[in-house]
Symmetry: C2
Subunit: 240 residues, 2 copies
DNA sequence: ATGGCAATTGGGGTTTACCCTGGGGAATTG
DNA sequence: CAATTCCCCAGGGTAAACCCCAATTGCCAT
């Protein structure tokens, strides 16, 4: 029974390896890799029972690595190891993990006990999510607050600073459609409109970016992905 | 010769303590504390030669702790230990450190060698900044890109999602004055205007928040400070 | 089929954000 | 003393963002 650890930080790898080898004697073989591609390769070769994946890694993100691994070996237990409680990642993970698969989500500031607990849970087929993420999972399933793919897309666009017109051009929509998406986005984020309360102090556009960032719906590295995705078709390129 | 370590993460403290005690035998006494207030208290009592300060800490931020400590004991060598390369913090540190003081700025993903190097440098009166921060320091001194306090204030406001009108109300300014600040902010961030290129795909307001975040000019915890500062006078409170 | 729901689109409006030009006061610098 | 720089303020204009109402389409469920 082997365990795979994928993390680009040597310090974290060592910490985790030491922790696991001293608390899980049933797993004598622990392999370390330092990037996402190596994680996929090693997983397919070694067929480990459990894989720890850091989210922010070179070559391939931990999420993409998890997708590849679970596609080939759905039995694998996957534990994401993240610095952030970002809802984006939980959303993505949710779609990737098979219905009866075991996965874990632990933050890097977790205690040693929590990590061992998560490992034990996933090894025995259960799921383990960091307390504090539960709230996020709750939100991904609540109809009133869960964003649709379309709304999420619009959110990413305004967070990048695009105008309605530019968004419409890139997503092949009408400006009206864009505004419609934004309107429902605003209401789902709970941002007051201009008419109600009439003392509305908020620019909805910027406010939604602020709140979405605060809730972990979007973050910088995700936005950079979106940016390259949105600009690759436009040969002209954009300033800045 | 004692060293003080202030970090709320036990794991990081242990790593750092082990590292320093094995590489700096001339400092047998290493004291650990877990929050900003304790850091100030211990520093004033122990008068250490060198203080490691994490930026994100309970009670008091590492920056504020550094300010207090350096005010009382300007001879102290201070090394900030941060997760991020945020320009905000470098800006603030710049103002705090006395002209001939020794300080360091190392990112948490630094190698062991780099940390020891930084510690040695600061102990002997030199400064040490993480490679990759140098660029930020450069920007804080370049006239064309360095934001004034007024522009920075405006930036924080729009990042919070406030309208021109709301900003004016809170800062006791005219809307025109706010727009004037924003205009110079946009140009310093290098955001193209609507007139030039006439195919301007950007909403300057949102775009500036995007770029400022990417450059580390602003970040979530700083914004939350601003938010409480801006709302404490308004008894009415704001939605969300 | 019939009704409900979500997404897109349209018309026609108000408000806000941004553009340009320019002036005046305060503090800094040579 | 200039000269510069920064900051605040003004008027008048354009374009983008946001508002309400309504019609369409397609999907899904009873």
């Amino acid at each position: 029974m082997t365990i795979l650890i994928a993390d680009d930080e040597e310090r974290d790898r060592k910490w985790l390896k030491e922790l696991l080898s001293s608390h899980l004697p049933e797993c004598p073989s622990i392999v370390e890799v330092a990037d996402g591609q190596a994680a996929i390769d090693s997983a397919l070769k070694l067929r480990p029972k459990l894989v720890f994946l850091d989210i922010k890694m070179p070559k391939q993100s931990g999420i993409k690595a998890a997708e590849q691994i679970l596609q080939q070996l759905p039995e694998t237990g996957v534990i994401m190891l993240s610095n952030f409680a970002d809802e984006v990642y939980v959303r993505q993970l949710w779609r990737i993990v098979p219905a009866n698969g075991a996965f874990g989500y632990v933050l890097k500031n977790a205690s040693n006990e929590q990590v061992v607990e998560a490992a034990r849970a996933v090894l025995s087929g259960d799921c383990w999510v960091h307390p504090g993420i539960a709230r996020v999972i709750q939100r991904t399933q609540n109809r009133a607050t869960n964003l649709t793919a379309a709304e999420y897309e619009a959110l990413a666009c305004i967070a990048l600073g695009l105008t309605d017109h530019a968004i419409a051009k890139r997503l092949y929509l009408t400006e009206k459609a864009v505004q419609s998406r934004l309107k429902s986005l605003y209401s789902k984020l709970g941002i007051p409109g201009r008419t109600e309360a009439h003392d509305t102090d908020f620019n909805q556009r910027c406010r939604s970016v602020c709140l979405a960032t605060r809730r972990g719906l979007i973050n910088q590295s995700e936005l950079e992905d979106w940016e390259s995705k949105l600009l690759e078709t436009k040969s002209g390129g954009l300033a800045q």
